[in-house]
């Protein structure tokens, strides 16, 4: 047992850190620190910088542009990226559809899609959830019917994150109504510009527009856009969801936010002195930092385990990551709310231009608190995670 990173790993951390320092556009970083939404341009600009460096799809196999890093290097990269902070790669392309395509797709599909995913020439979105299929995803109804060399797709998806920017969608569609519900689903990709695709925004409680409803009305898709085999889509979806186990804890994000809380708490006054000098607040902050340290260690255990024994058999501790990671992220946004107190109330009166530095930092704190309620809901709600632990780990 040894907690220390090797010299090489430490040097790697320095390399990553200094690359971020030199290359992340300062305004992009500022907006992330303040919890603001980025424009499509800001995100794509950064991802292309990352891709030019060869780090855009770091965890892909090297023949498709991956880096060949060890699990520990991936961990360091993610931590530095999250805590700098810089925008994380677009998960829908890089972590989700990309691996499905290079694992189950044919050569033509790999050639056609993978480089465009890496450079974000196509912005991808995910067509999984439906109004009637949340945690019970396998009950989905969106239908793809084969007609000659085409699929005809009808149905509705929802919670489609950033679909307003998307060029492409990967979609779970029912292709066999008679099979057991998991067995009749196929994994089909198509252009969001196709005729019959309608995107309708959903405004969330933070006032933002991240998610959408997407409607399919007789959308015609070439048959060759099927990934892998017909009716095997459920397997690919499970593969995709199980692919990204450790990033989900978002330890770096929470670290960055805790640093910000500490910083703000030493400026904002309560009872005539900085709120950080209030014992009750300080202890609450310490409690959160301790929880995060425990989570970081749990994550490192999973990472070290994967590095040594491969990703085949997941470490039981990995199921802790989603639950604790989301709870801690939510606690950090609660602490921010506590720091600004009554100044949580004003809506974003100063806009996004950063012109009023004196007040600007408060504007996104309440929205960020509201927005972060999502983290214990998406990607399999924490209640689903508890079902998984009970069944898969405890054998209940």
């Amino acid at each position: 047992m040894d907690l220390a990173f090797t010299k090489e790993e430490q040097a790697f951390r320095e390399e990553v850190r200094s690359f971020f320092r030199d290359n992340v556009p300062p305004d992009t970083r500022r907006k992330l620190v303040e919890g603001r939404h980025l424009t499509k341009d800001e995100m794509v600009t950064w991802w292309r910088i990352l891709n030019r460096k060869g780090w855009g799809v770091s965890h892909w196999p090297t023949q498709y542009g991956g880096t060949g890093w060890t699990s520990v290097q991936h961990y360091i990269f993610n931590e530095e990226l999250q805590s700098y902070p810089a925008p994380q790669p677009l998960a829908f392309g890089v972590s989700m559809v990309g691996p499905v395509i290079y694992t189950f797709g044919n050569e033509e599909q790999k050639k056609k899609y993978l480089p465009r995913i890496a450079n974000v020439d196509d912005w991808w979105c995910q067509g999984f959830s439906e109004p009637g299929s949340g945690s019970d995803l396998a009950s989905l109804k969106t239908k793809a019917e084969r007609k000659g060399d085409k699929w005809i797709i009808n149905g509705q998806k929802t919670w489609t994150t950033l679909a307003q920017h998307a060029d492409m969608i990967f979609c779970l569609c029912r292709t066999d109504n008679n099979a057991k519900k998991q067995m009749g689903i196929s994994f089909i990709v198509f252009s969001m510009k196709s005729k019959g695709v309608t995107v309708r925004p959903i405004q969330t409680i933070d006032g933002g527009h991240e998610v959408n409803e997407v409607f399919f009305d007789d959308v015609e898709v070439p048959y060759e856009n099927l990934i892998g085999e017909e009716n095997k889509g459920w397997d690919y979806a499970k593969f995709l969801l199980g692919n990204e186990r450790t990033g989900i804890a978002r330890v770096g994000v929470s670290k960055e936010r805790l640093r910000r809380i500490r910083d703000l708490a030493s400026k904002v006054e309560s009872a005539g002195k900085p709120i950080i000098q209030d014992a009750a607040f300080r202890e609450k902050l310490a409690a959160c930092e301790i929880e995060l340290k425990a989570l970081e260690l749990t994550q490192l255990r999973v990472v070290a385990d994967e590095g040594k024994h491969g990703k085949g058999k997941p470490n039981p501790a990995s199921s802790v990551l989603k639950i604790k990671g989301s709870e801690i992220q939510q606690t950090t946004t609660e602490l921010l709310m506590e720091v600004i107190g009554p100044f949580a109330a004003p809506y974003d009166v100063h806009g996004d231009d950063g012109s009023n530095e004196a007040m600007d930092w408060t504007a996104q704190i309440a929205p960020s608190y509201f927005n972060n309620r999502k983290v214990s809901i998406y990607g399999g709600s924490n209640e689903i995670q508890r079902n998984i632990i009970a069944k898969a780990v405890l054998g209940l």
């Binding site: 047992m1 500490r262 300080r282 409690a287 425990a294």
Partner: protein, 380 residues
């Protein structure tokens, strides 16, 4: 970075787990508890035979040169089996003082007897009003010729009844809460002026309240600097905290396992109660709490080697906070999920709960350590 045990450590784990499976079932434990001082000399000698009592001592001192990880393995196993024998008092704490501050002569006088199982120690530190502050000491040691005269009262001294030697903290200078002026003394338990009142503790161990009245010891009784040993005490107590964290992890593992087995077999309305989602979610939360505790126990184990004393203490305090929170949840919910049977002395689970509970209140509870971390400027 590596969280796996090496080959030797795996063997150690197998050997102690094997030994305790053979000789430490719940029924045997009840018998051991009735022996003098609350534990079994026979078991203690078996631990000695396997080399476990010499584990953390250097080879030069006749031990095996084991480190923090080895102690973690042992403490986890002792926790899992709910062991009563004074490993913490004798090997971790008493032995810790000798390892960190013992002169060659002191080591020669004490270590061989510890390793072969013939001698045990006890740590006489807690006072009526000191609570968790190690520097809050009113017991005095006054110079007399070459030696010292010790006067004071110490409470809840684990293994106080059986110990051959007491490790006593006493003030040689200054006022009650001064950080300097504290010494550590090796006092023979049968010295004139040592009076003991022994009793069982809530968790089935035995402790004693000890009064020292004009106890005379020689110059060879002093461990380290008699006027400035707080850093030494903090170091050894930090190691004790780390050991308690590991013991708690063992206790939590066993509590969770026992509870999950119970809800799988206990039937109500015709089905196993473990099929109910509310109980499944509770058990999942117990698992999460236990894993977070395990992570911090490992962290604390590795932190005990940190060069920087402040960083070390802060990390260990953080671990004690996580362990305290986790053990409370796992302990309480183990009882809850067992239902009425969990309330009985007859069932094993209540005894795990009681030991876990006492660990929280040993060497600083959750609030105490959380405050320490907060005052040290946090952990990020």
């Amino acid at each position: 970075m590596d969280f796996d045990l090496n080959e030797e450590q795996r063997l150690l784990k197998e050997s102690i787990d094997g030994l305790l499976t053979d000789s430490y079932d719940f029924e045997s434990r009840k018998k051991y508890m009735k022996e003098k001082g609350g534990w079994s000399k026979t078991v203690w000698l078996k631990l000695a035979e396997q080399g476990l009592l010499g584990l953390p001592f250097s080879e030069a001192d006749g031990g095996f040169g084991g480190g923090g990880v080895e102690t973690m393995i042992v403490m986890e196993a002792l926790g899992k089996a709910l062991v009563l024998e004074p490993y913490l008092a004798t090997i971790v704490i008493g032995g810790g003082f000798l390892r960190h501050a013992g002169t060659d002569a002191q080591k020669a006088a004490h270590v061989p007897g510890i390793i072969d199982g013939s001698k045990t120690l006890a740590f006489a530190q807690l006072e009526k009003s000191s609570r968790y502050d190690l520097f809050d000491v009113t017991t005095t040691a006054k110079k007399k010729g070459d030696g010292w005269i010790i006067d004071g009262e110490k409470f809840v001294v684990l293994n106080g009844e059986n110990a051959d030697t007491l490790v006593v903290t006493a003030r040689t200078k200054g006022d009650r809460r001064d950080r300097s002026g504290i010494g550590v003394f090796l006092v023979p338990a049968n010295a004139k002026g040592v009076a003991k009142k022994s009793y069982p503790t809530q968790d089935g161990l035995h402790a004693a309240d000890i009064t020292l009245t004009g106890v005379e010891v020689g110059p060879d009784a002093v461990l380290g600097n008699p006027e400035d040993s707080l850093a030494l005490i903090e170091r050894v107590v930090d190691e004790a905290r780390v050991a308690l964290c590991a013991e708690a992890v063992g206790l939590m593992d066993e509590s969770l396992k026992t509870t999950v087995e119970y809800i799988k077999t206990r039937k109500q309305v015709g089905v196993a109660i473990g099929s109910f989602q509310s109980l499944q979610h509770r058990a999942s939360d117990m698992f999460v709490a236990a894993e977070q505790a395990r992570s911090m126990s490992m962290f604390a184990t590795m932190a005990s080697d940190f060069e920087d004393a402040k960083e070390r203490s802060n990390a260990i305090a953080a671990a004690k906070v996580q362990i305290g929170k986790s053990l409370k949840f796992v302990g309480q919910q183990s009882i809850q999920l067992h239902g009425g049977i969990g309330m009985t002395m007859e069932a094993k689970i209540g005894h795990y709960f009681k030991r876990l509970t006492m660990i929280e209140n040993s060497f600083g509870d959750t609030d105490y350590h959380q405050r320490r971390v907060a005052d040290a400027g946090g952990l990020i």
